[in-house]
């Protein structure tokens, strides 16, 4: 079954690795992602003020466009997932708001679209068993700590992605890929989000906590599905290292990069080049990527 896929602005700019590897992986799994024809910025920040509909019109337009192409909309970026799913929840439960939207956009929101994350898509449409069968490269030597962040999990009543404090879908996914998943206490904590624009220290504190405790539990790298988390976790490490000699730098993978490695897809150099903490020496040391390929 094919569903429309919403990449989002960042995935076409900064996080090409996340996007391209997801598409390549989905092709191999026999569940190709078809990009939604006319999509708009999800607006990147869900306004909690739900009675002002003005703040929610942009995502509604995307949802209306998606409804024409399928019953579900697959989203990979955590922020887009969060915004689209919360707005679809408002629309689903409130008929009056649907009417207002209709009057304003002159386009009716009739068919509800289920917003699903890429992980849920792989679990429900492909199945983690089938994912496991397709694994071509043994990556069991990698000890990876999954990092969920905020926007996949909370508020759990609306997102219903997984348990808000003890989630497990990421671990199951990594298990299917064959690598060791390491539990860490700050896997559902905030990475500092947009504070990166004015309070570097706030972000550094958050990132330091996440990575240090993942490291103490035995993780050698972390993985995430959020471009903003990835940016913070990756770029803040240099400053943290400057302030604290003992801090260990850690590569930060997008989940789709690990999937690509396991499925035997050749990851282009440009994707590795996007990283600040270069994962290639780490992967070479583990024998995953040949040294000559660097």
């Amino acid at each position: 079954m094919q569903y429309p896929y919403f990449p989002g602005c960042t995935l076409t700019n900064k996080a090409k690795g996340l996007n391209d590897m997801a598409k390549a992986g989905a092709d191999i799994l026999g569940a190709p992602l078809k990009e939604l024809e006319n999509w708009y910025c999800c607006q990147a920040n869900f306004s909690s003020v739900t009675d002002n509909l003005m703040n929610h019109l942009a995502p509604v337009r995307t949802l209306i466009a998606a409804a024409k192409e399928g019953q579900k909309l697959v989203v990979l970026c955590s922020t887009c997932y969060y915004v689209l799913k919360r707005v679809s929840a408002i629309m689903a439960r409130d008929e009056e708001k649907r009417k207002v939207v209709y009057e304003f956009l002159e386009e009716e929101y009739t068919k509800p679209v289920e917003v699903v994350h890429f992980l849920e898509y792989v679990r429900d449409e492909v199945g983690f068993d089938k994912l496991k069968e397709n694994v071509k490269m043994d990556i069991s030597v990698l000890a990876i700590a999954p990092y969920y962040g905020c926007q996949l999990l909370r508020p759990s009543k609306e997102l219903a992605f997984d348990d808000p404090f003890e989630p497990s879908i990421f671990e199951e996914f990594l298990g299917a890929l064959g690598c060791e998943s390491v539990d860490s206490p700050f896997k559902t904590e905030c990475c500092g989000s947009f504070l990166t624009t004015f309070s570097e220290k706030g972000v550094e504190d958050c990132v330091d906590r996440v990575l240090t405790y993942a490291g103490k539990n035995g993780a050698e790298a972390v993985t995430t599905s959020c471009p903003l988390c990835n940016f913070n976790l990756d770029w803040a490490q240099k400053e943290i290292k400057n302030k604290n000699e003992k801090f260990n730098n850690m590569p930060v993978f997008y989940l789709t990069e690990l999937m690509a490695l396991a499925l035997g897809i050749e990851v282009p150099v440009e994707v590795w080049d996007e990283h600040v903490v270069d994962p290639r020496p780490f992967l070479a040391e583990k024998g995953i990527v040949k040294r000559t390929a660097l």
């Binding site: 602005c9 006319n38 910025c41 909690s48 942009a58 508020p155 004015f198 706030g202």
Partner: protein, 171 residues
């Protein structure tokens, strides 16, 4: 500042919500940003309950909150603190009442302008404009250059079809 500058209906709603708060502090102890705030969540709620909303409108807290929803998830009475903060933020932003954390306020504006123009975010232009207006001209200059050469910032913006419809949303 005068008291009760908030409209009556927002005030009433906040008041009703805050009747449930018994200051257990789960919000503050879970807040990843509490260290950066002048009023951490529990104090913030207490101040509102005491009718000091004008002080809270000029607080750093409303700009520092990253909407991670941890407090809301942890609260035993499900008080939606991010919503209260968003309400105050929208109120302050519209009336230009606060000059705290100016770069964030500029960020919001530039972000929306970008959507208005292209329908999607063009990261290079967006960051450039934000730098220009926020006065942080030279911070991250190195970072920007590095990102540019890593191919993370596209030079030309993508534009969507039917941009007129997006512009209509802003009216």
């Amino acid at each position: 500042m005068n008291e009760s500058i908030l409209p009556q209906e927002i005030k009433q709603e906040i008041k009703e919500t805050l009747k449930k708060c018994y200051a257990c502090g789960k919000c503050t102890s879970g807040c990843p940003m509490a260290a950066e705030m002048d009023f951490p969540p529990r104090e913030f709620l207490k101040m509102l309950a005491l009718g000091k909303e004008s002080d809270m409108l000029s607080s750093k807290t409303i700009w520092v909150c990253s909407s991670c929803q941890t407090c809301y998830s942890r609260c035993p009475f499900e008080i939606n603190i991010p919503e209260i903060i968003d309400r105050l933020k929208a109120y302050v932003y519209k009336r230009k009442l606060s000059n705290k954390e100016k770069p964030t306020q500029v960020l919001h504006k530039v972000f929306l302008d970008n959507i208005k123009r292209f329908g999607r975010i063009h990261e290079a232009g967006f960051i450039g404009e934000w730098k220009l207006f926020s006065g942080k001209w030279f911070s991250d200059l190195f970072l920007g250059a590095k990102m540019f050469f890593k191919g993370k910032l596209a030079i030309f913006p993508e534009k969507i079809k039917k941009i007129e419809e997006v512009r209509k949303l802003f009216k």
